[in-house]
């Protein structure tokens, strides 16, 4: 049915165009033969096509434009007629003989244009007559186009200042009066359009109306172009009259569009000088009008104006106006309220960046509006609050400033848990982006209070629906944030650590695995800093000593025990042990190792985790130099013991040969025990053999020789380190062994092992050649 409508419309349009063209043809003939009577007759018939009610605005416009072009020719003809001696006054009467009003008025406007040009009558009289006569068209669409035509033909003939039509009788006031009247009438017609036709087509009609808005707005543009409209006149006449029409028309679409139009077409300076008048109109608009966008655009303009160097003192007025608008629009959704404040905030940040008090005032107003209500659950509103709270962060690029705003956390109070989190994320992102360093415990406390949505569960139910990925993401950003908390003063830093600890411990088992590690590392960083300092400088009275920090660190790691995440805790203990090692605190380091071992023995039961942990232990232990022989022996003994007890033989084998490193440290003369290195390697070989036999027994084929090759590499390593127990022969034997294993009957083909061996052998060859080249003995 709609498709039919469109088709019909096309048909009507082309019929209209055809009729118009036909009459235009006869009109041209009459023009060519200077036949005034026929010219009037055919032009009136041509214009009759515009009387149609069947076309949508879009199509009607097409028809109108064609008529417009033809009327230009007619206007030229009228002008020639008057130069041929035809009286313009008579012509002005003659066109009014037409029986149909629409053609009559188009012709009247056309002659009127010539009349003004002839200057035989004051321009204002002709303009006034035209704008009055046009009242005869009460049909909205036809009236709008007719008046638009009037506006078009009169634009260059207004008695503006400096215009040739300005005279004793004609002042710019007349020009303004004319345009204002035409504007008022057009707006009335435009507003009325919505009531025409059946209710079910309302939506379509509103769309069509929207298409016509520029015809109305054009008048405001014309007003803004009149030279004579200076600030004084704008203030006293133009703005009050336009606003009167805007307010009185009581139409949502028109009010929104026209307010925006006023803001866009007139100069910034005028807005600034008439701000109160303009703002006073806002609370008087229909409740459904999107005032917040209107105001936002006004503020945007003013702030751009301020950016260009002008002095804009508008905060109080704007703030006041916004308060009134909110008051007037009783049922304005909270989203709207917040949006309004958000745009005021944007404006303030731009224009008065130094006025933190203004900003706090805005936030305070928000709090007032939000108070007494439940937590926000409106998506739109929370989105706007996030925008509102984000604006100062973006502007100052510094959370410090936001922390100074007393109302900032109060606004956040009204966010629901989800939004609170979102906002917390925004804050963290901001800190990250700007690499803001938060350097006092007090600020850290405030900050964590702000982002508590991420730090602990605010809402029990929420947790269930939370996506695992999102949660990880959030907690990772908290972890990153912890890294940004830093003070150069160890005392303060220590306080920061205490503060953070206090907050993160409230986070529960889900969060601790994310938040504990960064805090530990942050603490260890402090330890290393203290370690660099001279003990005597920090003095005895210094409350911050590595020992004290290690105490907190221990407590923090212990908090993980309830979760439990033994692997993580083990890793952290080892990290701490290493830090203690660097501080030469042997008992502390030993204690950390002990804790790690206890965890290994008691908590880590999964064989895979065991493998990982044992390698971690071996690696860390290998680097420790703080231990005396006894402690070290105890720890290495345990480590090798653990290694040999791993479940899978290949894992055993690898852990055991890794243990060999515990007995040979390059940089430590004390720890160079070749015997035990060899013992470890031999033990590894035995296990490798056992692996091989097990493979034979269970699968009937030889196992991989990779383990042997790995052990060979260890041999080579220690040989190069100069471990005397590792001899060339033993290496050769091992190579032989590998070769025979590989060539054995049951040996499976294993290209990776082949390649591994080949490259190992190539390495041996290379080392040999190098030695020879450098002139050493083989």
């Amino acid at each position: 049915m709609i498709a039919d409508g469109v088709e019909d419309e096309e048909k009507w349009l082309s019929a209209g165009i055809a009729g118009l063209q036909q009459n235009a043809f006869y009109m041209h003939r009459a023009l060519d033969s200077n036949n005034l009577k026929d010219a009037l007759k055919y032009s009136a018939q041509m214009l009759s096509e515009l009387r149609t009610s069947r076309l949508s605005p879009h199509k009607y416009y097409e028809l109108y434009m064609r008529a417009f072009d033809e009327l230009r020719k007619l206007e030229l003809f009228f002008k020639e007629e008057t130069s041929r001696g035809c009286s313009i006054v008579e012509l002005y009467e003659l066109v009014q003989h037409a029986g149909n009003i629409l053609p009559r008025l188009y012709l009247l406007c056309t002659v009127g244009s010539v009349y003004i040009k002839s200057k035989e009558a004051p321009a204002k009289d002709v303009l006034k007559d035209l704008v009055e006569m046009c009242r005869g068209i009460q049909h909205p669409l036809r009236g709008l186009f007719l008046r638009s035509y009037l506006s078009q033909v009169s634009r260059d003939k207004l008695p503006d200042i400096g215009s040739e039509y300005e005279g004793d009788a004609d002042t710019v006031m007349d020009a303004v009066e004319f345009v204002l009247q035409n504007f008022t009438e057009m707006n009335k017609l435009w507003v009325r359009m919505q009531h025409q036709g059946p209710n079910r087509e309302k939506e379509k009609r509103e769309k069509e109306r929207s298409e016509l808005r520029d015809l109305v707005g054009k008048n405001l543009h014309v007003l803004s172009q009149i030279e004579g409209v200076d600030l004084e006149m704008y203030k006293k006449i133009v703005l009050p009259r336009v606003l009167e029409q805007v307010v009185n028309c009581k139409d949502e679409l028109a009010q929104y569009y026209l307010m925006d139009c006023i803001i866009q077409v007139f100069p910034d300076e005028y807005h600034l000088q008439t701000l109160e008048t303009l703002l006073n109109a806002c609370p008087q608009l229909q409740p459904s009008v999107d005032v917040k966008t209107v105001l936002a655009r006004l503020m945007e303009r003013l702030s751009n104006y301020a950016a260009s160097g002008a002095e804009v003192k508008a905060f109080a007025k704007l703030n006041n106006a916004i308060g009134k608008v909110i008051e007037a629009q009783d049922n304005m959704p909270i989203a709207g309220v917040v949006t309004l404040y958000a745009s005021l905030l944007t404006f303030t940040l731009q224009v008065h960046p130094d006025r933190l008090d203004y900003i706090d005032q805005i936030l305070g107003a928000c709090v007032k509006k939000l108070s007494g209500k439940e937590k926000l659950d409106d998506r739109q509103a929370t989105k706007q609050i996030v925008a509102l709270l984000s604006a100062p962060l973006e502007k100052y690029k510094d959370i410090d400033t936001a922390l100074k705003l007393s109302n900032y956390p109060r606004v956040m109070e009204y966010l629901n848990a989800r939004t609170n989190k979102e906002m917390a994320n925004v804050i963290i992102q901001n800190i990250m982006k700007n690499k803001t360093c938060i350097s006092t415990a007090e600020k850290v406390d405030a900050l964590f209070e702000l982002i508590k949505g991420l730090i602990r569960d605010l809402d029990e139910d929420l947790h269930d629906e939370l996506d695992e990925e999102d949660f990880k993401e959030e907690q990772n950003s908290v972890a990153r944030l912890i890294q940004m908390l830093h003070s150069d003063d160890p005392e303060e830093m220590s306080k920061i650590i205490h503060t953070v600890r206090k907050h993160i411990l409230t986070g529960g088992r889900q969060r601790l695995p994310f938040t504990v590690p960064p805090l530990i590392f942050s603490s260890l960083k402090l330890v290393r800093r203290l370690e660099g300092q001279d003990e005597s400088v920090s003095g005895n009275d210094a409350s911050t000593t590595p020992k004290k920090i290690f105490q907190i660190v221990t407590q923090i790691i212990e908090s993980l025990s309830s979760i439990p995440v033994p692997e993580l805790a083990l890793g952290l203990y080892l990290q701490c042990a290493e830090a203690a090692n660097d501080c030469d605190l042997e008992p502390v380091a030993y204690e950390f190792f002990t804790q790690a071992y206890i965890l290994y023995e008691e908590e880590i039961t999964d064989s895979k985790s065991q493998v990982t942990c044992i390698h971690l232990i071996i690696g860390t232990l290998q680097r420790m130099h703080v231990f005396g022989v006894e402690n070290r022996d105890a720890l290495t003994h345990k480590a090798t013991g653990y290694s040999a007890k791993l479940l899978k033989k290949p894992d055993q084998c690898r852990a055991v040969y890794a243990c060999s490193h515990l007995f040979w440290l390059d940089e430590h003369d004390r720890i160079r025990d070749g015997e035990r290195v060899l013992l470890c390697l031999k033990r590894a070989l035995r296990i490798a053999n056992a692996v091989q036999q097990m493979a034979n027994a269970t699968r009937g084929s030889g196992g991989s020789v990779v383990l042997f090759i790995e052990i060979l590499n260890k041999y080579l390593y220690f040989y190069e380190k100069g471990v005397s127990q590792i001899t060339v022969e033993s290496i050769q034997d091992l190579i032989e062994l590998i070769r025979s294993e590989m060539n054995g009957e049951n040996a499976p083909s294993d290209p990776a092992a082949d390649a591994f061996l080949a490259s190992t052998l190539r390495y041996i060859q290379f080392q040999k050649e190098k030695r020879w080249c450098s002139g050493g003995e083989i």
Binding site: R51, E93, Q96, H97, G99, N100, I101, L102, R104, E132, M133, R135, G136, I137, Q138, H139, P140, R142, G143, K188, R192, Q196
Partner: protein
């Protein structure tokens, strides 16, 4: 042969000329046969003078019982066609009975002739002025010749000319107030005014102003009324809302109007009305008719 031809051809040629024919204004007059001819224009109290020449067909004499010229003011009702009622009849004897052998010219004069009524061509009635020359003959029948002329009478602007202002309406439906600037208009006048909408509850499509002529003929039970719409002038397109005021400006010059004639010789009247017509979207018509008086304003040239 000659005799027979002579019996069907007029024995002489009669021509009537006005003495100021060259300077007198000529106006078009529609004849019964539909042709329009130009005839001189007079007004009441004027002297009507001229010459009548009688020219026998060559070589013939015209024997007559006397020649006279009559000035007739006649009213003809169309239901009684051909029957003229003479409200004015003036006679001038031009010649005593005798014979005319050659062209002979007779001057005539009707001075300060009372011609109170205007020439009028209506739907059912016609009022005309004519000069009638009669050459009376015995057995051969009289020879007559006519010359039409038009009479128009001018009035000064009326001393009292009130506007027409009225509020009309249909309860709870439509209330308007209209105003025409005068109640008496001359023929080239402009009607100015406005229509003010006090209440609009119907969907109006458009509004026209009509000029209607009401011609009534006869009297008493035989009165016959004929109404014609002479002008249909669109004032408004579309539906106004309460508070709108629509201007009226109607130039009367394009229309063929006459002054208002009231009870012309007890035979007929011609009256004019302004009819304001509103048409709604269902094509229902709402109208209000007001009489206006038309008069012919003296040309001041």
């Amino acid at each position: 042969m000659n005799f027979i031809i002579g019996a069907f051809k007029p024995a002489c040629h009669i021509s009537i000329t006005f003495s100021d024919a060259k300077s007198r204004k000529q106006v078009p007059l529609k004849k019964e046969n539909g042709q329009t001819i130009m005839v001189p224009l007079f007004q009441s109290q004027e002297n009507i003078t001229g010459k009548i020449s009688v020219e026998p067909i060559s070589g013939k004499k015209v024997e007559h019982n006397g020649i006279k010229v009559e000035l007739l003011g006649q009213i003809e009702m169309y239901f009684d066609k051909g029957n003229f009622y003479d409200f004015t009849s003036l006679v001038r004897e031009l010649d005593v009975p005798g014979e005319i052998y050659e062209r002979k010219t007779f001057p005539f004069e009707f001075s300060t002739v009372e011609m109170p009524y205007e020439t009028y061509n209506g739907v059912n009635v016609r009022l005309r002025y004519v000069l009638k020359v009669t050459i009376s003959r015995g057995y051969a029948g009289s020879i007559t010749e006519y010359q039409d002329f038009v009479v128009r009478n001018y009035s000064p602007p009326p001393s009292i000319n009130n506007s027409i202002k009225m509020e009309v309406g249909i309860e709870d439906c439509l209330h308007i107030e209209f105003e025409y600037n005068k109640s008496k208009y001359h023929l080239k006048d402009v009607i100015l005014g406005k229509i003010y909408f006090l209440l609009v509850r119907i969907k109006i499509k458009n509004m026209d102003l009509e000029i209607r002529r009401r011609e009534s003929t006869g009297s008493g039970p035989n009165t016959h009324v004929e109404t014609e719409t002479l002008a249909k002038f669109e004032l408004m397109d579309g539906a106004p809302v309460r508070g709108e005021s629509i201007p009226i400006r109607l130039f009367l010059s394009p229309y063929e109007l006459t002054p208002t004639y009231r009870n012309i010789n007890n035979k007929f009247s011609v009256k004019y009305y302004l009819n304001l017509v509103l048409v709604d979207e269902e094509d229902r018509r709402y109208f209000k008719q007001q009489e206006i008086t038309m008069y012919r304003l003296g040309e001041t040239s």
